[in-house]
Each structure stands twice: as structure tokens, then as C-alpha cells.
């Protein structure tokens, strides 16, 4: 499977850059371009500046609203970095990098939501704290 994927990928690379040297044979498409890096950089600057302004100017009266909005911006910026700096796409290595990323995201989500779930229920699972409570245990 991986051999097939490899061939496909180097084909894509050669189509894009016909005359390049054989050293980085399968990575031509994966390194991105000057315009790609600049787009990513400008988007990141904008996506960083907006949350800073929102927090410093207290645009929203409710801090929770601000939290959700800046979390949204952070999520978008992470995607921007993945696409323009880490060159995630559906084509490289025949889609296996994307599959690996999705698997990672799944594990992270399970770990995070599991931890938060456990921590919010810590109180219920605690030993009784005082002798009175201890005596009145169910």
C-alpha cells in the first residue's frame, strides 16, 4: 500500500516541478511555496490579532462569549497552520498523513473529554470529609 502511495505522490511532485533534482524526490509538493507561507503567515497574524483585541478591549460584556469566540479563532488558526505550514492535505502520502492526523485528533478528544468528565465528577466519588458525614454514610 505504501509503495503505491509513494509512487502516486512522486508523480504529483514531478508534474508540478518537472526539472528538479532527484534529492528530495517525493517531497516536492510537500514543501509548499513562498506564496503559501506568506498566506499562512498573514492569516495567522490576523487570526492572532483579533483575539488579542477582543480580550483587551472587552468587546463583549460577557467573558464567556469572548472565551468561545477566541477559542473559535484559535481552532481556525490551527487549521491554517496545518494547511500552510505543515502542508496537510488529502494527497500527500496517498492520504495516510491525513488519516494519521484524524486518528491523533480522535485520541486527543477522547483523552481531553474523558479527563474533564472525570474531574467534574471528582466530588461525587470522594470519601466523606467529616466524622459526622462518615457516621451518616449511606
Amino acid at each position: 500500500l505504501s509503495a503505491t502511495a509513494h509512487t502516486d505522490d512522486s508523480h504529483g511532485g514531478h508534474d508540478a516541478r518537472p526539472g528538479h533534482h532527484p534529492g528530495g524526490h517525493d517531497d516536492a509538493a510537500a514543501h509548499g511555496s513562498f506564496n503559501g507561507y506568506m498566506t499562512g503567515f498573514l492569516l495567522s497574524v490576523i487570526l492572532t490579532a483579533i483575539p488579542f483585541v477582543l480580550v483587551m478591549s472587552r468587546t463583549f460584556a460577557n467573558p464567556d462569549t469572548t472565551s468561545y469566540v477566541i477559542l473559535g479563532f484559535a481552532a481556525v488558526q490551527i487549521v491554517v497552520h496545518m494547511v500552510y505550514f505543515l502542508h496537510m492535505n488529502t494527497r500527500s502520502e496517498g492520504g495516510w498523513t491525513l488519516l494519521a492526523l484524524l486518528f491523533t485528533v480522535m485520541l486527543v478528544v477522547i483523552t481531553l473529554s474523558g479527563s474533564i468528565w472525570v474531574m467534574f465528577h471528582l466530588n461525587d466519588n470522594m470519601m466523606p470529609m467529616s466524622p459526622t458525614e462518615m457516621r451518616n454514610m449511606p
Binding site: 511555496s33 513562498f34 497574524v45 488579542f52
Partner: protein, 138 residues
């Protein structure tokens, strides 16, 4: 401070991108120059962060002061270590490239560090959103 730090890391991400582009063109000295600039931005980041830590601790706001400060020092400090190890790796690769040139092995190594370095920036998005921005909201 956090805004300056964020821009340092963002700039180092894009200068690393430029190093990769020069690597594709096979220009060894340009690669070394961009890697050097990336390293300087990284050092500036770590320097500013250590300065902030020193300032906080001198004010009595060390990690033992509160739950927020414990997690602040753990998260930000771990990320700082991540960056520091990245710089060590970067210097190692600069020596390798200077000695052996842009041979396929070094190209692959630069690719790996590229992912590590851009990922530092991705992690930082999460850190500054959660720790700094959401921390200053509540």
C-alpha cells in the same frame, strides 16, 4: 510580552519555511542563514519567557502561589523546554548542513525539524489562547 512572544514564534515559523524553500533550490548558505534567523527568534522567545518567569517569581507569584500559577508555569514552562530542545536540534542540523551540505539525509532531517518547529507554533496557539487570553478574562 505575550503578543511580542507570539510574533517571535510566528516569524520563526515563516523563516523556517523560507529555509525549506531555499533547501528545495539547493542553496546551502541561504538555508543556513534562514535557519540561523529562525534560531535567533527562538532564542528571543525563550529569553522573553524566562524574563517573564523571573519577574513573576520576584513579585512572589511563583508556581506555589495558586492553582492558576502552578498550571501557568507547567504549561508555559513545558512549551519553553520544547522550544529550547528545538533550538538544540536546529543548531545540530546547522552544523550537519555546514559540514555535509544538503545531502538527502540532511534534507530529511530538515523536513523532520520543520514539522517539529511548526508544531511548536501550533501548540503555542493553544497555550496563549487558554493561559493568557482566557486567563486574563476571568
Amino acid at each position: 510580552v505575550v503578543a511580542v512572544n507570539t510574533s517571535m514564534l510566528l516569524l520563526s515559523s515563516i523563516t523556517y519555511g523560507f529555509a525549506m524553500l531555499e533547501m528545495q533550490r539547493g542553496r546551502k548558505n541561504a538555508v543556513l542563514m534562514w535557519l540561523g534567523i529562525t534560531g535567533l527568534f527562538g532564542l528571543a522567545f525563550v529569553g522573553l519567557e524566562l524574563n517573564e518567569f523571573r519577574h513573576l517569581i520576584s513579585e512572589g507569584a511563583g508556581p506555589q502561589r495558586s492553582g492558576f500559577l502552578s498550571s501557568f508555569f507547567t504549561l508555559v514552562g513545558t512549551h519553553g523546554l520544547h522550544v529550547s530542545f528545538g533550538i538544540v536540534w536546529l543548531v545540530t542540523l546547522m552544523v550537519q548542513v555546514a559540514q555535509r551540505g544538503l545531502v538527502p539525509e540532511n534534507q530529511r532531517r530538515l523536513m523532520c525539524l520543520s514539522m517539529f518547529w511548526h508544531f511548536l507554533d501550533v501548540v503555542w496557539i493553544g497555550v496563549f489562547t487558554f493561559v493568557y487570553l482566557m486567563g486574563s478574562l476571568h
